[in-house]
């Protein structure tokens, strides 16, 4: 269970321009995907208890599908950054895994919103 101070720091991070740009950069590169594919990414992030599962999913998709060619590396960059943010929030403490997953879930929520918004704007 994350403490109030940790939750406050997570919120501050998610509210930052830097965090928003991470999500937007991914949404920019995701124009080759359809709704189902982006939702699949969101499902993986929301359902897993392991950060490596997200990484493995993204890297395997990059290896499998041409439309992930530029998207995959951008997502990996975002996830590395999220890992770094989690380290700054709680260091090497026990909560780090949980913080990292929480940040990832908030990040992918923005990615999906930005992606869908771009879809509407295109149509």
């Amino acid at each position: 269970m994350l403490g109030r101070d940790t939750l406050r720091k997570i919120d501050q991070r998610v509210d930052s321009d830097e965090f928003l740009h991470l999500a937007r950069n991914v949404a920019d590169k995701a124009n080759g995907l359809n709704d189902t594919q982006i939702r699949n990414l969101q499902n993986v992030v929301n359902s897993t208890t392991r950060f490596s599962e997200i990484m493995n999913y993204v890297k395997a998709q990059t290896g499998r599908h041409k439309e992930w060619e530029h998207l995959g590396p951008e997502i990996v960059k975002s996830l590395d950054k999220i890992d770094e943010y989690a380290g700054k929030i709680v260091g090497a403490e026990q909560d780090r895994g949980e913080v990292r997953l929480k940040l990832s879930r908030l990040w992918v929520k923005i990615v999906v919103a930005e992606f869908l918004y771009r879809e509407i704007a295109r149509n």
Binding site: M55, G63, P73, V76
Partner: protein, 159 residues
């Protein structure tokens, strides 16, 4: 172990990334390793759920690649002595040596005693791993290695 802790999860991921790094230092065309080789390793662990079976496979594949490498080396020697040989024999030799290295690495992971010792002797891990936890971690390693290679090959295609 019902759930893999984030520390172990990170440890296995780093181990897979480091393995790719080590292989790439000895083999310039690492992305030429067929994904099917790593998939074979991953599948035997996830389907058979038996590290002893995986170890048998790894040792067999290593011997097979070694035998091929020896045959190609003989072909190259024959080429040098003026007899005709396949033009891309050097590439085939490099690939056989790459497969040998990969299966050597795989064999170490599914050698339970060796892998357990590696996990429990790492000071950064800070937790004890039991024999009952090994298969899940070995399978995770194989899965992560497969993803890393898939990614490496995709990046290699980008040039």
């Amino acid at each position: 172990m019902n759930e893999i802790s984030w520390e172990l999860d990170d440890f296995i991921r780093k181990m897979a990334e480091d393995s790719v790094q080590v292989l790439s230092e000895s083999h310039t065309d690492l992305e030429k390793l067929a994904k099917s080789q790593i998939r074979k390793f991953w599948d035997v662990l996830s389907v058979e759920q038996n590290s002893a079976v995986a170890r048998q496979l790894a040792m067999h594949q290593q011997r097979k690649a070694q035998k091929e490498a020896e045959e190609y080396e003989t072909e190259i020697q024959n080429q040098r002595s003026g007899r005709r040989a396949d033009r891309d024999i050097e590439g085939k030799l490099a690939n056989a040596k790459l497969r040998m290295s990969f299966w050597e690495l795989a064999e170490k992971v599914v050698n339970d005693d060796q892998f357990l010792h590696k996990l429990n002797s790492d000071q950064n891990l800070g937790q004890r791993v039991g024999k009952g936890d090994l298969l899940a971690l070995q399978t995770l390693f194989a899965e992560t290695l497969y993803s890393e290679f898939s990614y490496l090959k995709a990046l290699g295609r980008q040039g």
